[in-house]
């Protein structure tokens, strides 16, 4: 008789499962889920299968493991692109939900797997589809995973650049900036002066990667509004989203005022600069 047969084993009813407390994971790998989670998992699974990219990115799988062999994330995490592709191709609502909890966030998006898969699967792409869905539906573990991104999301949504030099501080990302070599004292100047020493005017700011014109940032925000990105972000972090809307409202106001100030010059111009109202 196999050893497995002697292991404690019983079939749980749904009521048992919901009534019981952690551990959240069973030995089988099947996650204990509340009724609400089950329903959300099913919704996400249906949307995942209906996404037009599914058909385009998932073309078949030999289980050859070529993708995993070259995968950087597989070296350091309990993660494999082969498993992700298998879940995308043959999984169900529960296995997809399991993957969304942590594994999808291991991927580095390096596209090495795509380059090694003879089937031509877009594994990096299908992982992004899974990520998008868990962001859009505000999956709790995704909120936790992305919690540190408030600052960079604010920059990205308002001026369209990911980082700024004032993120590099002696007590945070110390090893990134001019502080790195431990020679801050030798420089004896502020970060603002350090930026002034870059010979490109639009880079001489600490608040963004470069100065972005107000028109450009408003056009970008219009794109986020029109393409559902703002709504998506609302699912992830409603407070942050409201703050972004406020910032943009202020910029719109600033833009309208600038239209008045520069009216004479603008009247001579054609194209977007003349037509865009903010």
């Amino acid at each position: 008789m196999s050893v497995v047969a002697h292991l404690p084993h019983r079939t749980l009813s749904l009521a048992d499962e919901e009534a019981s407390s952690p551990p959240a994971m069973e030995l089988t790998g099947r996650r204990r889920m509340s009724a609400a989670e089950r329903s959300l998992a099913e919704t996400i699974y249906q949307e995942f299968r209906a996404d037009p990219r599914h058909e385009e990115f998932v073309l078949g799988c030999l289980n050859c493991g070529e993708c995993t062999t070259g995968c950087p994330a597989a070296r350091f995490y309990d993660f494999s692109p082969r498993e992700m592709l298998q879940i995308a191709a043959n999984g169900d609502a529960t296995t997809l939900w399991d993957a969304l909890q942590e594994k999808i966030w291991s991927c580095c998006q390096c596209y090495t797997c795509n380059m090694r898969c003879r089937f031509g699967n877009d594994i990096a792409g299908i992982i992004s589809v899974m990520r998008e869905l868990s962001v859009r539906h505000g999956v709790e573990s995704t909120r936790r995973t992305l919690a540190p991104f408030g600052r960079s999301l604010t920059l990205l949504m308002t001026v369209g650049t990911q980082v700024s030099s004032d993120m590099i501080q002696p007590d945070f990302f110390r090893d990134w900036g001019p502080f790195a070599t431990g020679s801050d004292k030798a420089w004896d100047v502020s970060p603002e002066i350090m930026r002034k020493a870059i010979p490109i005017d639009v880079l001489q700011t600490t608040r963004s990667a470069w100065e972005v014109s107000v028109q450009t940032s408003l056009e970008l925000f219009r794109i986020y509004e029109e393409t559902g990105v703002l709504d998506m972000l609302r699912g992830l972090d409603p407070d942050l989203t409201e703050m972004l809307v406020d910032i943009i409202e202020e910029r719109r106001e600033e833009f309208r005022e600038a239209r008045e100030t520069h009216r004479a010059r603008l009247e001579t111009m054609r194209g977007p600069v003349a037509t865009f109202q903010g």
Partner: protein, 435 residues
């Protein structure tokens, strides 16, 4: 692993599988021509004024690399924390007499964020790309993409906009609301391709010898693993088996390029990881890249051509001390090393002080007096502190440009008809590099 022959084989097999979906075209440029004829988009063409240089891609197709009248599509990561990257590039353009526009009317591609947090979607990414493309078009300057990820993303977005009518129509409708229209560049061009095209002119201006320097190359993943058919290959570089950039310029400048076993691995950037799970980025960069580069290849410098790669490889090494790693390998972009070889100021132009791994020994090997340059820079910093105006690579922007993407006499869409092909020349001197 990932040699050109293998990638070609994978691509060919992939095309067979994808034919079933009926969605894929092989050369996106041919389909662009058809869509332009149907009035669905406009092609931003490379013109004689752009002084193009032909190069070969993975399948031997010709890709024309424009070398003049360029619109700088800056990288948010470079500008934010390794600013010597863009300043070295602009400096070389000035030295070689190339004209360009460097504007505040550009956003990043936003793909760092997408690959890190997925808080976007393909229509948004495509619209962001198309907004930048249109701005470059209306200024009549050809877009030059600084970042490897922007380059990869824009190749993907161009393909998506060509292949997917639904996305195309949605993006076009959004652009029209802001007085813009759908314009796709004839080629998506990475700055390292420009550097390669300019190699003869760069070499002709060489002041310092790279002969004593052993360089290892990290090939940025998004340069050649995303839409691989657009990457540049050259039989004279690795026998045509690995991308010709950024290695080509190193060979041209006389550096000794050494191989190492994990050349195909990513750098460990991870998009999300570099900001919020740095233990991964640090471990990967050190164990899979820096160690093999130093211990197998005995490198003096690691050269790459992407924002994230320079950042990760450079700024992760500090932690190596904890593991008894007794060295720090300088990490620079190809364009920074080329500028140094041409005599650019290591601090004022190449901004080496933003890098974490010290470059002093490298400068010494090249015969550059790093100590004198540093002393001069420290003086310059003090002068800036006491209110001296900064030295600039190009004419500064007017105050009105903080608000408006103004018309400086560039090409504009015909009123009421959307975009139209270039008809007018911008006045001389606009955005032209200072001598």
């Amino acid at each position: 692993m990932l040699s050109a022959s293998e990638i070609r084989k994978v691509m060919e097999e992939r095309t067979q599988h994808q034919k079933g979906t009926g969605k894929k075209v092989v050369d996106v440029r041919e389909e662009m021509e058809r869509l332009e004829e149907k009035g669905e988009l406009l092609i931003h063409r490379i013109r004689p004024e752009n002084r193009p240089v032909p190069m070969q891609t993975l399948f031997g197709w010709t890709k024309r690399i424009p070398t003049d009248r360029l619109w700088h599509h800056k990288s948010c990561g470079q500008c934010g924390n390794i600013p010597g990257y863009p300043s070295a590039l602009l400096w070389i353009m000035n030295e070689t007499g190339r004209t360009y526009l460097n504007e505040p009317h550009q956003t990043s591609c936003t793909a760092w964020n997408y690959h890190g947090t997925a808080t976007s979607n393909p229509v948004a990414l495509a619209a962001v790309a198309a907004r930048n493309f249109h701005r470059a078009y209306e200024t009549d300057h050809f877009p030059l993409i600084h970042c490897g990820t922007s380059f990869g993303d824009y190749k993907e977005m161009r393909k998506l906009l060509v292949e997917n009518a639904d996305v195309r129509h949605k993006v076009r409708a959004i652009l029209r609301k802001m007085g813009r229209d759908l314009v796709l560049p004839e080629e998506i061009v990475h700055y390292s391709e420009w550097v390669q095209a300019m190699a003869p002119e760069i070499v002709a201006r060489k002041k310092f010898d790279l002969g004593p320097v052993v360089a290892t190359v990290h090939e940025p993943c998004h340069y050649y693993k995303m839409i691989p058919e657009d990457a540049i290959y050259d039989d004279r570089v690795y026998g045509g088996q690995r991308p010709a950039v950024p290695t080509g310029i190193l060979l041209a400048l006389g550096a000794r390029v050494a191989d190492y076993s994990t050349w195909y691995d990513c750098c460990g950037f991870g998009f999300r990881h570099i900001l919020s799970e740095r233990e991964f980025s640090r471990s990967f960069a050190n164990l899979r890249k820096i160690r093999p580069m130093v211990e197998e290849a005995h490198a003096d410098v690691a050269i790459t051509s992407d924002t994230g790669c320079v950042t990760t490889l450079d700024k992760s090494q500090w932690i190596g001390k904890a593991h008894g790693q007794a060295y720090m390998l300088p990490v620079l972009a190809d364009v920074q090393l080329a500028a140094l070889a041409m005599g650019a100021h290591p601090y004022k132009i190449v901004q080496v002080h933003w890098h974490a791994a010290p470059v002093d020994r490298l400068l010494e090997k090249m015969g550059i007096d790093g100590a004198a340059a540093k002393a001069e820079f420290l003086e310059y910093l003090q002068a800036l502190k006491s209110g001296r105006a900064p030295e600039l690579l190009h004419t500064p922007h007017e105050e009105i440009e903080q608000y408006f993407a103004i018309n400086k006499g560039q090409v504009l869409p015909e009123e009421g008809t959307g975009a139209s092909p270039p008809t007018t020349e911008p006045p001389a001197g606009v955005g032209r590099a200072l001598p």
